[in-house]
Symmetry: C2
Subunit: 353 residues, 2 copies
């Protein structure tokens, strides 16, 4: 059995690392803030075009001042980093404005929707020397996923040769905003929720690059939204020969007790891992962050919830302060985005047939 490591502690004192929030178009912004705050960062500002969204945000984070404009935040020299959840196709332009204002950018996934945007982002990073980091939450903010990284590092399953990921999501009964159904605006299912999967593949296998061997999308059951993709999957082959299969969908049934039965299976030459990330179905009580390890020594279950923490956020803060790349390299963040866009671009539509 492997032991849990000590949970990460805050890395800065109040006021030492100030950040702001721009763009509240996805609930992920709450997780992004929580992660940064737990690591010691100080939240100063929030801005969104929609005042109602700002007011709601300030109920959770009353320390945030409502800015009158994005510019007010960008002009504040105290702000070192801006975290943003714009609508996906606007995320890159926001990031460039943030970086041009001399601040690092922490963007919700997917961080962009086209290769052209990616080129602009790469150029702006080079020109400004700022960071364009991405909240790939399904690894960075899931204790099972963090713990899996530790187990691999410690050799628990040998050399990782394949990663299989399932990313089912609940569509929900509340109406989604219009952009959710507009592929130009949200990027498509593989670019959007697929980006989590591709990032995990690169991380767990250590591949620096990969090719999209095959990708496809479908609309199996939502003819009322003909452009919607309710299912997508892809096979990737890494530059080190490791491979990935992932599938994502919007079919989480109403009877599931949470938003999605996300799983990651990591195959190694000496064993394998299964992460039941958000729920262990049909098990009482509702459990999350279950990590299963099978190797030469036996079958093991680790309940990682509350035991591991989220080292990414403190590392990110220190990276911003020290100009290092311990949380995530810029190239990794961009490569996952690039492959997500390519998977989307290459996708064959298989249904309706």
């Amino acid at each position: 059995m492997y032991e849990f490591r000590e949970k990460p502690a805050p890395v800065v004192k109040p006021g030492e690392f100030v950040f702001a929030v721009i763009g509240l178009n996805h609930g992920h912004i709450y997780g992004m803030c929580r992660g940064l705050l737990e690591a010691g960062a100080t939240l100063k500002w929030v801005y969104d075009r929609d005042r109602k969204k700002m007011e709601k945000f300030c109920q959770t984070y009353p320390q945030a001042q409502m800015a009158a404009s994005e510019q007010e935040i960008l002009e504040d020299p105290e702000v070192k980093l801006a975290a943003g959840c714009e609508i996906p196709y606007l995320r890159c332009a926001l990031g460039i404005r943030v970086m041009e204002a001399g601040k690092d950018y922490f963007c919700d996934k997917a961080p962009m929707t086209t290769l052209e945007q990616l080129g602009q982002a790469r150029e702006a990073v080079g020109r400004t020397g700022r960071k364009y980091m991405v909240y790939y939450s399904e690894r960075l903010h899931v204790e099972a996923a963090v713990f899996a990284g530790y187990l691999i590092e410690e050799g628990a399953i040998g050399k990782v040769y394949q990663v299989t990921g399932f990313g089912p999501h609940r569509l929900g009964s509340e109406p989604r905003p219009d952009w959710f159904y507009d592929q130009q605006k949200y990027g498509g299912i593989l670019c959007d929720i697929g980006s989590h999967q591709i990032e995990q593949f690169l991380f767990y296998t250590g591949a620096k690059d990969a090719r999209i061997a095959r990708s496809q999308v479908a609309n199996y059951a939502h003819p009322e939204h003909p452009d919607m993709e309710d299912f997508g999957d892809a096979q990737l082959v890494g530059d080190n020969g490791a491979s990935q299969y992932f599938r994502v969908d919007w079919f989480t049934p109403d009877g599931l007790r949470n938003w999605g039965d996300g799983r990651t299976f990591i195959l190694g030459t000496k064993g394998y891992l299964e992460l039941r990330k958000y729920i262990n179905i049909a098990e009482e009580p509702k459990t999350s962050n279950c990590v299963y390890l099978v190797n030469g020594d036996g079958e093991f279950r680790y309940d990682a919830a509350g035991k591991v923490g989220y080292p990414f956020f403190g590392q990110l803060i220190l990276d911003c302060i020290n100009r290092t790349e311990n949380a995530m390299t810029q190239e990794h963040a961009f490569k996952a985005a690039e492959l997500s866009i390519r998977a989307q671009m290459q996708a064959e539509k298989i249904f309706p047939v």
Copy 2:
């Protein structure tokens, strides 16, 4: 919750349906016999070139007479069906001899290794009017898999649109016969253990045909056998737009309490199923045949072991007697074989890179 149906009872009385065994090259023959015997069939003969294998077989099934030759069995008019586990590349030729002798053939999977053999088998079936049935045991002889078929039939998950299957197998420490490492003789990993997966895809989705969208194989960790494929996977798209991903490997770790953590995930428009077929890892006591259902009504676990039985065998016996196709159509058996061979033929070798 759905109820278990009544388990199938024997369909014939002793002596009413006589079968023989030819070829003992894989342990599957024991399962094939057990299934037929439980359904009421009578085992009369066994033959293999290797007398030691016959003697071992007769310790389990003492009612079987050791034949002096295959011919002795083929000439016995009492024998209605011959069940055989030849080396894969010889299975088709045996089947043709069996059918030409006027008997039905029950073959271990994979039932053949080339499209040329498949053409010969199709021709012989047409000419003789006999059956060339296949023991796709990972569905036919697994109660979780049988029960999943019932649940789908009863509408528990809506329309099935995707099947994901994992077929890890243990290589084992005992030396494998030479043919195991000779692709010409065993057919390759996708043709061999992949055939189970493809058969399940056709069955659960109702697809009558499919194309291999992508397939690949690798040798990640067995350089001492350079031709060995220790991993393979594939994506199929059915003629009805449903799709499949499956992966198979020879990496079951020594610490797993059984030979492989086989899983099947069946996605429908109204819910999904997960089958933990042979083991529920890290759970005490060791459990098999766990069926998980998530749909609009909730999350459910069914322990199918011992509750479902194996209707295939009785149906096969009656099909042989009545010349019907209730157990499995000839076209289904051949289509799964064809696609397995095509997946193998199209496979890209991704490792060594």
